[in-house]
Symmetry: C2
Subunit: 139 residues, 2 copies
Amino acid sequence: MGLRETIFGLAQIYRGHIKTAVNANELGLNGMHVRCLHIIANQSHCTANALVQLLGKDKAQIARLVKDMIEKGWLVKQASPSDKRSQILTLSGSGLALLQKISQLEKEIEASLLAGLSSQDVADFKRIAGLMLNNLAAS
Amino acid sequence: MGLRETIFGLAQIYRGHIKTAVNANELGLNGMHVRCLHIIANQSHCTANALVQLLGKDKAQIARLVKDMIEKGWLVKQASPSDKRSQILTLSGSGLALLQKISQLEKEIEASLLAGLSSQDVADFKRIAGLMLNNLAAS
DNA sequence: ATTTATAATTGACTTTATCAACTAAATTAT
DNA sequence: ATAATTTAGTTGATAAAGTCAATTATAAAT
């Protein structure tokens, strides 16, 4: 199996499992919602533009996605004091609760993903994947 | 960095690089085209239904994708002798030529991806990812 | 002070994905 | 054997996702 199939295969199968779990729990969100929630929770002063950079998506798409998530009550935005063009995005209470449910589902998926792997394997995987990411990010 | 970010990060950055390379070479195809070409080249008697299974996509989408690729002259289909409902898909000459160009671009991307990695690292990565794939495919 | 750049939003549009209905062939059950 | 059920593939109608260009408001640079 080539590297390409390996990388896309992993992403595809992980995505499929999350999708199934999210649908089964009727959480009413899609893959981009999930990725945004994670990023906003981890970035200290996340803006729409940060999402554009990190997700590699069009800014129009992100603007609509953020709008949608605000309407759904998962996010709140507030003007940045340092730059009035920027809107700082944070999770609302329900957004945080939602992320926690998702994280729980992901934890279960990762547990089955890692079944039978040694902690050395897991560490190696992350280390090697990190090297690959750095290589491509650089070029 | 969590496992989720690692997996999706790798797929995202790889996809971005291929997209850029394919666009730069004006090959006129998208990600699904690429994946289909690879699968059809590797499966001995590939049908639309096999693509549905392997790609995890809706059969309507695959039907239209295959139609498109046939119209573009990259694929040919022929009725299966053993099951007249099935259409066996194979690469045409130009489909094969296209795949070879893509493979060359992927080879270059993978070369930069693997820069500085030992062959042991590469082997470990594939082995561990393979275990993960098996785990999720089973559950 | 004026030009240039950046963050975000919106309109118009294309592409991609999904659901349901349908045809034809194969399989299973009666 | 024939009737009922599955399966492979196609199509129509939509919905969702992604893209491009233009616009507004603010910030930074000249």
